[in-house]
């Protein structure tokens, strides 16, 4: 509905001289181009709408979402797609209709015919400003809320060593170096593995660093990403909620074999995980 008065083409006048708002909207819609734009916007919007699900389908091909963080990410992507479709559809509708709906001249010489001299339109510009500001505001608010949620899900509201027995989180020290990942489990006698073993439904905290250049620790299906910086340790975390095999990739160019700097994540049920840790030399179960 908001778009109906957009680009109302009359000059700004004193309000007393103007017909009632409903009348003006009805008059505007009665113009042939206005109706066409509205219809085109809706049609293009519906054509674009499946993208919201297709995008998620592409993201989910390897088993995502495997954590609450990834679910939040996908929710964000989904709703951002949905809210940006009307605006995109409207712009595309104007593009299409400006070519097909009005007159079109393709002569070599400049056309004799001039178009209506619309220098501005108060209603249209105000509507655009308001709508785009509201959208930007929505993005910011949504982003802040989601960021806070993800932060709470990753490196935590409760310090790792203060959590009660069974809930105690797994701590993994992740070290990137050209071109392998090493995972160290301080809670399991410092057992070290080249494959990341995680326990299903148990929060895990990652300390990440690098021994040479910048790498980026990307646990794809878990939605975890943080740089492994030489000379600094970064923290993040996640709770894997889905058992299975997932991917770790290096997402920062790190030299010759950057492309091969990947490994797998095995998210295991509790007992299997404990057994795996014992096998790796980490006898202590905590």
């Amino acid at each position: 509905m908001a778009h109906q008065t957009l680009f109302d083409s009359d000059e700004p006048e004193a309000p007393t001289n103007r017909p009632a708002a409903t009348g003006r909207i009805r008059e505007w819609v009665s113009r042939p181009y206005a109706r066409a734009i509205l219809i085109l916007t809706v049609v293009i919007g519906f054509v674009l709408l499946p993208l919201a699900w297709l995008i998620l389908a592409a993201m989910n091909q390897t088993g995502a979402p495997a954590s609450p963080i990834m679910e939040e990410i996908e929710k964000t992507v989904f709703w951002f797609t949905i809210v940006s479709i009307p605006m995109t559809a409207f712009v595309f509708a104007v593009l299409v209709y400006s070519l097909l709906g009005w007159k079109r001249i393709s002569s070599d010489d400049p056309p004799m015919q001039e178009s209506p001299a619309i220098r501005t339109n108060r209603t249209g510009t105000i509507m655009w400003t308001v709508v785009s500001s509201v959208l930007a505001f929505f993005l910011v608010v949504w982003g802040m809320i989601e960021l806070a949620a993800i932060t709470a899900n990753s490196y935590g509201t409760i310090p790792a060593d203060q959590q009660p027995g069974d809930e105690q989180p797994l701590i993994v020290n992740v070290t990137g170096q050209q071109w392998v990942w090493t995972f160290e489990y301080p809670g399991y006698d410092g057992a070290t593995t080249p494959v990341l073993y995680l326990e299903k439904d148990r929060p895990v905290y990652f300390n990440v660093t690098s021994k040479d250049v910048i790498h980026n620790f990307w646990a794809v299906e878990l939605g975890v990403k943080i740089d492994a910086n030489p000379g600094a340790a970064t923290q993040t975390g996640v709770t894997p909620t889905k058992a299975g095999v997932f991917n770790v990739r290096c997402a920062e160019l790190c030299g010759l074999h950057h492309a091969y700097m990947e490994t797998t994540i095995e998210v295991l049920p509790k007992e299997v995980f404990a057994a795996a840790m014992r096998e790796m030399g980490g006898g202590k179960t905590s």
Binding site: N173, T175, N207, T209, S210, K211, D212, P230, G231, A232, A233
Partner: protein, 265 residues
């Protein structure tokens, strides 16, 4: 057009009134100063950022050795001092301020039409600027550290190298402008280039003050517990290789940026 009886002097090359050309050039000078200011800010930001982080305890490792570039020459002895003395920064800054004042004075004299005195004052400015350059070089060559002795050394040396470049530009400009005052090209009717040089040198003086300020206020890093390179514990929990190495031990800890890190625990 009607400006054939224009009383204002016109520029020989474009035929426009000199005031118009001068206003344009002055604006250009201001923009050039913005560029140089941003570059200087990049150095100062680098200094402050490295100072605040103290990565791997490498801001100012004590008693470090002079290992890298130019080590064939006479190396300053490793005295255990990590920080440069403050006073040379301020003495050199003061000298630049003197140059700046002389340049403005020369410009004033030119405006008054006092060509001979203006030339003399300009010459004095050149002498001071060259003396400053020598002093700056002396300061760099007597610093108690070399380029490879941690980030403090790096940050100070790059600031001082910036000073050298600034001084070279200043000396070029002063030579040119004084010569032109002497030749009468810069005169009462068209003194503007002298003003531009003065404006530029004013900015250079500010840049020197900024440099002297950060180098004498930010010394010991506020971060005394940085993370050890390649690990997760604070650096202080490990014996620091740089601190434990006696000054006369190995002459080259690691000069190459790509040196592989020491093995982890």
């Amino acid at each position: 057009m009607s400006d054939t009886v224009n009383p204002a002097p016109v520029s020989p090359t474009t035929g426009e009134p000199v005031q118009v050309v001068a206003a344009r050039n002055r604006l250009g000078i201001y923009f050039l100063i913005v560029i140089d200011f941003m570059g200087t800010m990049a150095l100062i930001i680098s200094y402050a950022y490295l100072w605040s982080l103290n990565v791997n305890n490498g801001w100012a490792p004590p008693g470090s050795q002079f290992t890298a570039f130019m080590s064939n020459g006479p190396a300053p002895s490793a005295t255990g001092t990590s920080f440069a003395a403050d006073w040379p920064f301020w003495v050199i800054t003061f000298a630049v301020l003197v140059t700046c004042a002389l340049t403005w004075w020369s410009y004033r004299l030119t405006r008054r039409g006092d060509q001979a005195v203006a030339t003399a004052v300009g010459a004095a400015a050149i002498v001071v600027a060259i003396a400053t350059l020598v002093a700056q070089w002396w300061q760099i060559s007597t610093l108690p550290f070399g380029a490879a002795n941690g980030t403090y050394a790096s940050a100070v040396l790059i600031l001082l190298s910036g000073n050298i470049v600034h001084l070279l530009v200043v000396i070029f400009l002063l030579l040119g402008i004084t010569n032109r005052v002497r030749m009468g090209l810069i005169s009462r009717s068209n003194p503007w280039q002298s003003q531009f040089v003065s404006i530029w040198i004013t900015w250079i003086a500010i840049a020197f003050i900024l440099g002297a300020f950060v180098t004498s206020t930010m010394k010991v890093s506020p971060n005394d517990n940085p993370t050890r390179f390649g690990g997760f514990e604070p650096r202080t929990s490990q014996p620091s290789p740089a601190a434990s190495a006696s000054p006369s031990a190995s002459p080259s800890p690691s000069a190459s940026p790509s040196a592989s890190p020491s093995p982890s625990s």
